[in-house]
């Protein structure tokens, strides 16, 4: 019955397509695929902005006394004066690089793009459960982006209290010199929270209730599992950030003192609230990447994912543990050391499911028929970089080590190994992998491989030395390190890091060129260029409005590669009908 209704509405949607205006079809669209592409363009833009901010920072770190910033003249006097990046602007760079990358680039690219694109397609449904809410979740990101960009140009400049917005620094304009910029960023954050919550409601409801017939929980691709778990994390963590952000706005605007000690408030409360959100956020930023990697490695190795159930359980346990470890960001905050110990232990537990996943990825590749295309290279790169970032995470989980490396470049190295080497590598892989489905053409492989190797080499040149710079004691948000006795002798390392960072940024443009060039000139992709099994590959590229002519029925698990019972090919699509039709075969 439900199928019939769904098919009927599906055909109605297909029919409707011809009558939609340009505005309804491409701008205010409720089609999950269009929304995903809107998110993709939005996030790639902010990825570039975030990268640009990082380049300015790197210039300052490498040559703090030189001035002569190239094109420094295009910046207002309040940011760059006679070629010198001003300290206040540097604070804004540090803050907004982190904020933009986390909230406007990586997070919406992981979730906004891929949850939107893949959940309906991989689950075999026509669209999201609530298409109009879905549209709203994109359009809530637009004011967030505008406010963020605008905040650079208001009096006092953009927020400068670090992306963690620690109070009282973030709550009192007299401490940073930033008033309106901080408020604008907080308002943007509330919009981002709204977008994220609306999106999560959609992803969770769709996954629970709209799976194609036969798509049982344990037949869902790992991408869907990871996006589903991520949506739960965002659903429960984002509102806490929104509540905290609103209280911080009140502290700045209407004279409350939630986080201001002089009014009886507690700065530590901000840290608890922020990291109660912030640590699940870390997993929001990595779990989808793990899902893409599992998928790409399985397709690229022509083997089922090693330990599918263990992978699912590892995802669930990482998500659960993610909610009880936030205090490991606060070992130095003056909280009770006993509490610190419990946070150390719970944090170390996370190494177990993380290791399960890492070994299972290697198990997936082991003796596989490896196809080293760009997507696969990035997925393998993800595993390697995530291992390094994960291991340095174990260092800082332990309180005594963390006290030494706290707030140094070691932390910066760690976060970039998991967020860039991890999340962004997987995202590049995902774009190379699903681009043919999105746009019907392949991205250029040669450019893709060059992009991978440039990114891989420059990335490690940038971030590996940061471990050492951090061990020496270079502080995380320092404007000019040359004046400190203990930081003498790291100037050359910093200069090398900066040159490598320029290379890393530049290699991003090769990717951008490939992205746009392939839209027109890429090789035409068929429905299933990778010979993949999941449902999205069993419909034309790009899929039509409504995705399916007919709702697919699922008979198999998600990663049936090199199946021993299949002779003519090495893959078995999820909706391929078994030859012997027995009523129970597909349903349970």
């Amino acid at each position: 019955m439900a199928t019939i209704v769904a098919e009927a509405t599906g055909q109605a949607i297909l029919h409707e397509e011809h009558e939609q205006s340009f505005l309804r079809k491409y701008i205010f669209s409720t089609d999950h695929k269009v929304i995903a592409i809107q998110f993709l363009i939005y996030t790639l833009f902010f990825l570039m902005i975030g990268g640009l901010l990082a380049m300015l920072m790197r210039y300052q770190i490498a040559w703090p006394a030189r001035g002569e910033l190239p094109l420094g003249g295009i910046f207002p006097e309040s940011m760059v004066a006679s070629g010198y990046i001003l300290p206040e602007f540097y604070n804004a760079l540090v803050t907004m690089h982190g904020s933009v990358m986390v909230f406007l680039a990586i997070m919406p690219m992981l979730v906004g793009v891929w949850a939107n694109y893949l959940i309906p397609l991989q689950l075999g449904t026509h669209d999201m459960a609530f298409p109009r809410l879905n549209m709203l979740s994109f359009w809530a990101m637009v004011p967030a982006g505008i406010l963020t960009l605008a905040s650079f140009f208001v009096v006092g400049g953009a927020a400068g209290a670090g992306w963690t917005l620690y109070a009282p620094l973030s709550a009192r304009p007299d401490l940073t010199g930033v008033g309106l910029g901080q408020i604008l960023w907080l308002v943007a954050l509330v919009f981002i929270g709204l977008s994220s919550i609306l999106g999560s409601v959609n992803y969770i409801t769709t996954t629970i209730n709209m799976r194609a017939p036969g798509m049982t929980w344990m037949r869902m691709p790992l991408t869907i599992w990871s996006l589903f778990i991520t949506a739960i994390l965002a659903l429960l963590a984002m509102p806490v950030l929104s509540a905290a952000g609103i209280m911080l706005i009140f502290d700045q605007t209407i004279g409350t003192s939630f986080f201001l000690p002089e009014g009886g408030g507690q700065p530590l409360l901000w840290q608890h609230l922020f990291w109660f959100f912030g640590h699940p956020e870390v997993y929001i930023l990595i779990l989808p990447a793990m899902g893409f990697t599992s998928e790409i490695l399985s397709v690229g190795s022509r083997k089922p994912v090693f330990g599918y159930k263990a992978m699912v359980l590892a995802l669930v346990s990482i998500a659960f543990l993610g909610f009880i470890v936030w205090g490991h960001h606060m070992f130095q905050s003056g909280m009770n050391p006993m509490l610190g110990l419990t946070f150390t232990v719970s944090t170390l537990f996370i190494a177990v499911p993380s290791a399960i996943k890492t070994f299972n990825w290697m198990g997936t590749m082991w003796r596989g028929n490896l196809q080293l295309h760009s997507a696969m290279l990035f997925a393998i790169g993800f595993v390697a970089m995530f291992a390094i970032g994960g291991l340095s995470g174990v260092f800082m989980a332990s309180t005594p080590v963390d006290i030494y490396i706290h707030d140094t470049y070691f932390i910066v190295a760690h976060i970039h190994y998991v967020l860039f080497g991890g999340s962004l590598f997987a995202l590049f892989g995902a774009i190379y992998f699903w681009y043919p489905k999105m746009f019907g053409r392949m991205m250029n492989e040669t450019m893709g491989k060059i992009h991978f190797w440039l990114t891989f080499v420059f990335f490690n040149l940038v971030f590996f030395p940061m471990h050492g710079v951090g061990m020496v004691g270079m502080m995380r948000r320092i404007y000019d390190s040359t004046g400190y006795a203990h930081l003498q002798g790291i100037e050359d390392t910093n200069a090398i890091i900066t040159w490598a960072a320029f290379g890393l940024f530049a290699s991003g443009f090769l990717f951008a060129f490939n992205f746009f060039w392939s839209l027109k000139k890429g090789r035409k992709a068929g429905a299933n260029p990778w010979n993949a099994t999941t449902l999205e590959w069993q419909t034309p590229s790009p899929p039509k409005h409504g995705n399916w002519e007919e709702v697919p029925v699922v008979y198999h698990g998600p990663h049936e590669y090199s199946h021993p019972d299949v002779e003519d090919k090495d893959w078995l699509a999820q909706n391929e009908r078994p030859d012997v039709v027995s009523p129970a075969a597909g349903s349970h």
Partner: protein, 204 residues
């Protein structure tokens, strides 16, 4: 039909609950966390405060708010009755109870606005005139928590008014109850939050 063999089979489509209801439950989980953030902060600030916390009765008008609480609880009852009427296809009942719920919600808001105005204009706080959000942690937590609750009531009243207008157009009935049920879930949640807030802000 390629899948003729399975055409008669009841397809697996997740829970045996319609999508809008699942969506509302999921959304309410997020709302729980939002209020948990506010209430948790209140608890931490109140028990960490250096000065003694003000006695609610000396600052706030507890009796009138107790009456307001009664109104909101009644509105949950009328909401239940509206849903029952919809299930029974009782058009008059749907109209009466939806309108009743809307009016009770609106009255609650009116009383809350009156309470705010009285506090800001006439209540004295630590020797100065006017009890505002800037009046220490007490004022900050009071206005933030009750204010955000009031905002949720406002959203609920707007949706209820819209549902009531639709009731007069004969939109609801025994075959169309989902909207009322989902709105009811939200309304009961808002009511429940208020009972917690009333207890911890006005009573203890």
């Amino acid at each position: 039909m390629a899948h003729a063999a399975t055409a008669g089979r009841v397809p697996e489509r997740g829970l045996d609950v319609y999508t809008q209801k699942v969506g509302m439950w999921v959304f309410l989980c997020s709302e729980v966390m939002f209020f948990a953030g506010l209430i948790g902060s209140y608890v931490v600030l109140r028990f960490g405060a250096a000065d003694t916390w003000a006695v609610p009765n000396e600052v706030l008008n507890v009796p009138i708010t107790a009456f307001n609480t009664f109104l909101l609880i009644c509105s949950s009852v009328t909401m239940v009755k509206a849903f029952a009427a919809a299930q029974a296809g009782d058009q008059r009942g749907i109209k009466v109870y939806l309108l009743g719920t809307t009016l009770l919600g609106a009255t609650f808001l009116g009383v809350q606005v009156y309470e705010y105005v009285e506090l800001v204009l006439h209540q004295s706080w630590q020797g100065s005139h006017g009890f505002t959000p800037a009046a220490g942690l007490y004022g900050a937590t009071f206005f933030t928590m009750t204010g955000f609750h009031g905002f949720h009531v406002l959203l609920g009243v707007i949706c209820l008014a819209w549902a009531t207008i639709r009731a007069w157009r004969g939109h609801w009935g025994a075959d169309n109850t989902h909207g009322i049920e989902v709105l009811g879930l939200y309304w009961h949640f808002v009511d429940l939050v208020w009972i917690i807030l009333f207890t911890i802000v006005y009573l203890i």
